[in-house]
Each structure stands twice: as structure tokens, then as C-alpha cells.
Amino acid sequence: MNEILSQIFQVGFFAAVIRIATPLVFGTLGELFAERAGILNLGIEGIMMLAAMSGFSTVFFTGSLWLGVLAAVLTGVVAGLVMGLLTVSLGLSQHVSGIGLTLLCSGLSFYCYRLIFGQPSTLPAIKPFETVALPVLAEIPIIGPILFNQFALVYLAMLIVPAAAFVLFHTPWGLNLRTVGENPLAAFSAGVSVTAMRYQALLLSGALMGLAGAFLCMAQYNAYTFGVISGRGWVCIALIVFGQWNPWKSAAGAILFACIDALQLRLQASSAINLPYQVFLMLPFVLTIVGMALVSRNALAPAALLKPFRKEAR
């Protein structure tokens, strides 16, 4: 048993945890901005899928990884705009709009992928991002190889968490955003445009979800498959509940989830435990549900989440 443990908990394991957590951090923060403004963006799963597809195709044809990232982000922004049109301008049910957006985006990503690549016998692949060792920092024992010998997008995720916390809690824009999510009428009375704030939140949300999709098929993997997201978007929504709508806690939740995910990958690979590998795939989802059940009693959801705002219907 000790041997298994020492095999698992190596520097490589924790570096993998950080890598697995990265797309979840992007997705979770994206969803967080939307929910803090009062919009549950259930389009997340589909947006990540479509962004991954458009980003991957762009890299495949231009050879430029950063152009691919840009394409993925723009795809996310456009999808966020559509979500805004449905839930902010038209005030439609956020649940059904989000599910519709996910169905539409995933359908579109399958359709376009097949249109662009046909049904090739070998999976089209790109040359993915390589890790960048940060000077000096990467030399620190243990922490260096885990945190500072990573992909550029991982560093971006590390910067985005404190940035999101700062913007949300220490800037006027963040205050307006939270007010719109808690009490839109108060925000409206104070001269804040609820519509504009919610649109801004959704565009930002889509951009971050786009980054998540880009990371998955340009850094974590080097190809696009129909199962590239496989529920990660839904996990992000659960992580926000788990993290009580706070960027730090949600990011911590993402790392916890990534630990479980990395652990199941190692257990799958080790011959010590003989179970079908799907049991390990199932494990993170089960634990996510258990985690949600544990914290949901004192959930701190924004008060105006799911409620459309109409000036006329004050």
C-alpha cells in the first residue's frame, strides 16, 4: 500500500493536478461572473465544446496556437452574446435557454468538425503548447516543478483567480455586477444599467469558457474529440455551489476536483487495484454530488439569480 502511495504522490502527480484544474478554473470563473450578475449560464458545456472545436481547427489550418486561443475566446464571446439575447433582452427561462444553447453549440461543433475534417481514419492532431519554465521560480525545489514549469495558459489561470477576486470585490464595476445579481432594482435606481452589466458579464463568461475549451484541445490534449469536454462544464457549475460563489473557494474546489481526477487516472494506470476503468471515471462525478449536498444547505447564491429584470414590470 505504501508503495502505491509513494508511486502516486510524486511531483509529477501534483503538476498534473494543476494542469487538470486549469480548464476547470477558467470555466468556473466564467460561470461565476455570469451567476454573480444573476444569470445561470447552462450553455457552458456546449460553449466549451464549440470553442474547443473552433480553436482546434484554427490551429490546424494556421499553425498558430495563439490564433487558436483567440478563435476559441471569440467563439465563447459570441455564444455569450446569444445567451444574453435570450435571457437578458428577451427575459426567457435561463434553464431552458442554457440547455438549448448547449444542445445547439454541441450540435454545431459536431457538424462543423465533420464538415471540416470529414471522417478521417487517423485523428487530426496539432503540435500543442509546450511547457514554459519560469526563470528562477522553476528552480525552487518541489514547488518549482509543480507550479512554474507549466503551460502559458496555466500561468494565465493562476493570474485570473486573484484578478477576478479583485475585480469583483474591490472595483466599482465589480460592485455594480454583484448588485445587479443581488438586487437589480437597487442597481437600476442607482443608475446602473442592469442590461449592460448582465451582457458584460455574459461576454466575459463566454470568453473564459472559450479559454477552457482552448486549453483542453491545445495543451491538455493535441486533438479534438466529441468527448473532449465530457461533463467538465457541468462540474464547473457544481464547483461554484461548492465554492459558495467566491472565486478563491471555487478555484480551491477546482483543485480538489483535479486531485480526485488525477488520482483516478493514476489508479487506473496502476495495476494494484483491479476495477473496470469506468469506475474511476465515475468517481469524480459522485464526489461532486456528495460535495454539493454537504455545502448546499448554507448556499449563498446571488438573490436575483434566475430572475429576469424588466424595467416595465417594476
Binding site: 445561470l40 447552462l42 456546449g46 435570450l86 428577451l90 426567457l92 427561462s93 434553464h95 431552458v96 435557454s97 440547455i99 438549448g100 444553447l101 448547449t102 444542445l103 445547439l104 453549440c105 454541441s106 450540435g107 454545431l108 459536431f110 457538424y111 465533420r114 464538415l115 465530457s230 461533463g231 457541468w234 462540474v235 457549475i237 457544481a238 455551489v241 476495477l275 473496470p276 476503468y277 469506468q278 469506475v279 471515471l281 465515475m282 462525478f285 459522485v286 461532486t288 454530488i289 454539493m292 449536498a293 448546499s296 444547505r297 448556499a299 416595465e312
Partner: protein, 355 residues
Amino acid sequence: MNGVRLELRTQTPWWLNLVLPLAAIGLTLVLCSGLIVLAGANVFTAYTKLFLSSLSTPFNLVETVVKATPLVFTGLAVTVAFRAKFWNIGAEGQLLAGAMAAAFIGACEALPAWSLVPLMVLGGALAGSIWALIPAVLKARYKVDDVVTTLLLNFVLYYGMMALLDGPWKDPLSGYPDSPDIRAAAEFPILLRATRLHLGALLAAAAAAAVWLMMRHTTLGFEISAVGENLKASRYAGINIGAVILLTATTSGALAGLAGVGEVGGIHFQVMAGLSPGYGYTGIVIAMLARLNPIGVVPAAIFFAVVITGAEAMSRATGVPVFLADVIQGMSLITMLAALMLTQYRIRANRTEHE
């Protein structure tokens, strides 16, 4: 502001129930035609293939009904749940739970032959209910968001099923992760000779009628709608909200489970990875297009059965990717939702009058 404004409607004219879904579908087809052009095909040819191939011969027509059978069940499952605003996105997992129960019972040698089909139906419904009760209990007792749990449970069930199919439940005679075939006596009776039209189609039609009766004429149906429409008023009126949510989930899960039973008993005779190509999710689109009306679910399910089966023929003939069917599903859910606005509001030209 000049131009148009939205005004609350006090009553919905009946014809909107028919016109709205048709308008939503029409708009969807217009929007999707751009994708067909992108694929380098003729829009008219592609749509003709899409819609007419499944209706062109008597055999194809029957196959469309076969395909619509699980969709009627999942559509009804979502209808019941959404009426109570219990956001059951988990029909996919509940369908698989029902299918697994049916495949297990159907292969059971110890049971008398005559009891197999009824036990599969009961067992499958029960399994679907149990799987739907998990998120319902979590919602009613711990206030855990139902959308996320129902979605995540789909993955739990799928991986769990695949683990069994790759492990102890694997058919030793098959090279694939499939369950053993059910017994011959467990196969659903065929309603029309030389077709695949099976007992499930009858059950689906009966279920639509039963759900309509339940929603219209029983206390539970009334309470489900009441909880969905106005939670506060329902509580004030003395309705036990938690109990209604649990009963809604039970009913919804049972219906989704029956979709899986029909697929195992009438079509595949076993459980395998591709048992459901997203019937649970299509159920959401169907329920919305039917405006959460149980009877409306039947034509909506047939429509999407036509699209799903027709997409294959269209793809073969024109080279347009078969995934157009998925795009149409997502798009029509969104257009229908937008169209539903017109039932609550009417568009009026703005006049400069002051209230």
C-alpha cells in the same frame, strides 16, 4: 422610447399552441439552411431528403414510429418534471437505468416466461424512478440544485453501466461491452408483421393519454402544476411541496425508464454503449415544443423521429453531415422558447400616451 413594446397578455388564444411550434420549426429550418449551403449542398434537396425519406415508404413510416417511441416517453418525462419546475435534465440517465433493469430481468432464467414482459416494464419504471429520486431527495431535503445533480447523475449512470458491461455483466460470447441477450420470451410482441413496431409504441401512446388524464383530472396533476406556477401560493394553500417534488420525480423517472425498457425489449434485446443517442436530451426539446402538453408530445416526438431518421438518408444522398439533426434540435428549442414569449406578451406599436 419609440417603436414597439411588449404588453402582457391576459389570455392565450388556442391557435397559438399550433402556430408557435410550427413557426419555431420554420425559423429553425431557415437558420439551418445556411449550414447546408456551407456543406455545398442544395438546401431544397437536403430538406426534401430529410423530411420525405422517412415518410416515403410504408416501411420507413413504421420505422419512424419505432424511433418516436422512446422519444414520446422521454418527452412525457420532461413534461411532467418541467410542469413542477423540477428541472429534470436527467432523463438520459433514467432511461439507461430502466434499460439496465429490463435487460437484467429479461435475461433472468429463474422467472416464468409469462412474467418476463410485465416484470421488465415494472422493473424498468421502478429503476428510472429510483434514479430520479436521488436528485429529488437532494433538492427537497438538502436544497441541492436539481439541474446540476440530474446532469451529473447521467454521467454517473453511464460510466457505472459501462463498468458493468466491461466487467461482470459482459456477454462472454461478445467481443464488445454488451450485456447478454434477453430471453426469447422477454422480447416485446411485434404489432405489425415484418416490422420492428413493438409493444412499446402502444405503451407510449397509453402513457401520453395517462399523463394527460393525470395532469388534467387528478389532485396530483393539479398540485404539480400549482407548485410549478407559484411555489409560495402552493405552500400557503397547504400543498406539501416536498412530497409533490418526490412524486413528480417518481413519475418522471418512471416514464424515462420506460423509454429504456422499450429499446431493450423491442429493439436491441440487450444493453450496450450506444443504446441511447441522447433520447433524454431530445425529450427536453420535445416537451418544450409541445408546450408541456402531454398530447402535444406525440406529434413533437414523431417530428424529431423524422428528423433523426431522415438525417441519415440526407447525409448519404447529399453529404451534409448527419449532425444537422442535433443542430436542428438545439436551434428549435431556442426558437420555440423565443416564440413562447408571444404567448405571454403581445407586440404593440408604441403610442405616446402616459399611464
